[in-house]
Amino acid sequence: MPDLTIDTNLARKILTDFIRTEITRAGFSRTLLGLSGGLDSALACYLAAEALGPGNVLAVRMPYRTSSPDSLAHAQLVIDALGVETLTIPITDMVEPLFNLHPDMENRRKGNIMARQRMIVLFDQSEVFKGLVLGTGNKTEILLGYSTLYGDSACALNPMGDLYKTQVRQLAKAMGVPEPLIQKPPSADLWSGQTDEGELGFTYAEVDKLLFLLVDQRYTPKECIDEGFEERFVHAVIERIRKSQFKRIMPPIAKLSGRTVGYDFLYLRDWGT
């Protein structure tokens, strides 16, 4: 079985340098993020505070009326520990008019609307705070497509997208993220009792090892099965990755001309900086 242990000192150094460099070269000195009370956004907040100083970080809490009270309390632990700037902007009154138009709306639709509403609030606050929105998505959820497109995945830069969830936990521990956040089961908290692992049907510990073999180590499906993973699980995960590819790339532009953005008009975002 693969070992996903990382050098947390090195990851911390590279990621804080990344945040500071990429924000300042874009002409900013501040960042903001949605602080949910979960582990990913807590770690992003720790990294941002270390990179830019706590006064340059705005943690925005955006509860919905059914959000777990623990979420607000756990976010508060992070805010208190770091001394970052903070705002609490409930989204209930923003999303419920839309829910009410469709009384039969199921949880997934509501969850997507909430995630996108939070994105709207964050990007609006970015204008006021004069900061860039920091992403909090990890490699596991990006590969599995376990996020809302233009919702929680929307950001200006993402420091954590190359760390699997189990590696996020390692780095969070090393940086002193409060223990209750590290211990509790991961949840998007979009409805009561939701947990990531319940919804996905497998644990992060399992899937991270499989993803590491498939993606990082370029194992074939058969080699993963030979390593002891259940055949059904291997194929289900591969299918999830394939089906969610659209979430990981910019929408394709229909090529008509000789030079088209994305195909043969190629520049890094850091062009000229």
Binding site: I6, L10, G272
Partner: protein
């Protein structure tokens, strides 16, 4: 003879040659004042690394008439300079290049011969491949220059060694990747790519009983970090300096060229090298015929 080398482990502004040139001139002056005989810059130090469609817009000619080289050549008095840039040839092919400047003259230009075009790398899409690997004479003796992927092919330093180079100047824009815990004794806080590069260049110093100076850049381009960690090794394969990683720095090393004599007396690998045998076997292998 002892020489002082200053490795300018810099970050660059992507696609802005003027800003990068300014930084080069400042560091050249700083190194000269500090007593350096030679200052080395990383791969594509005048332009930044992931140029993509910017490559044609930042290209220079390593000639006195070129407005960029004109200034670099003027500052190459009393200190020699190795600089990284994009060279456009007379038929409009673009190369990843490094030039050696001394006393107002261009002594040598090397075009990168191995362009990585796999995984994260896409150099072959934008650049032409260099067609030669040659050593050249300097006031410090014979020198050979390679750029990053060039020295992942053992034949490149091998050819320079046979061509008389006693000092290898390697220039890189090496992206940091791999953050697994290091093996016991490898030291903390290094990306896997930093470990790989330092292992092989150290091996070259020892195997070729030659000085190796490696200058790698720092900073970020989009999400990619460059790990710095410029280093120099003696002909015994011993580290002379290991520069700070993940930060800009002017890394200084003193090279005692007398060490070549001492090391090669003890370990006459160059004397014993059988180039005719190598040539014979390569001819046989590449001809596809069994001897």
């Amino acid at each position: 003879m002892k020489i002082n080398v200053a490795m300018a482990q810099i970050n660059t502004v992507l696609g802005n040659v003027d800003r990068n040139l300014e930084k080069h001139l400042d560091l050249i002056e700083q190194a000269r004042r500090g007593g350096a005989d030679l200052i080395t810059f990383p791969e594509l130090s005048l332009t930044g690394y992931a140029l993509q469609d910017l490559a044609p817009a930042v290209a220079c000619h390593a000639l006195p008439a070129d407005p960029v080289f004109n200034q670099l050549l003027a500052s190459s008095k009393g200190i020699d300079i190795q600089v990284g840039f994009v060279e456009e040839d007379e038929r409009n092919r673009f190369y990843i290049a490094t030039a050696f400047l001394s006393e107002g003259e261009v002594r040598h230009v090397h075009h990168k011969v191995y362009l990585p075009t796999y995984g994260f790398f896409d150099e072959g899409r934008f650049f032409a491949r260099g067609e030669s690997v040659r050593a050249f004479d300097t006031r410090f003796g014979r020198v050979g220059m390679l750029i990053c992927e060039d020295f992942w092919h053992a034949s490149s330093p091998y050819m320079l060694w046979l061509d008389g180079a006693d000092l290898f100047l390697f220039a890189s824009a090496s992206p940091g990747r791999g953050i697994t815990l290091p093996p016991q004794g490898a030291g903390p806080g290094r990306t896997e790519s930093a470990r790989w590069v330092n292992d092989i260049i150290r091996a070259y110093a020892g195997m070729f009983t030659t000085f190796v100076v490696h200058t790698n850049r720092a900073g970020f381009e989009d999400g990619v970090n460059f790990w710095g960690g410029s280093s120099a090794f003696s002909p015994d394969g011993e580290p002379l300096v290991n520069g700070v990683e993940h930060a800009e720095a002017l890394v200084l090393a003193e090279l005692d060229l007398g060490q070549l004599h001492r090391t090669r007396t003890r370990l006459p690998l160059l004397r014993d090298e059988r180039t005719s045998l190598v040539q014979r076997e390569i001819t046989r292998i590449t001809s596809g015929k069994d001897a």
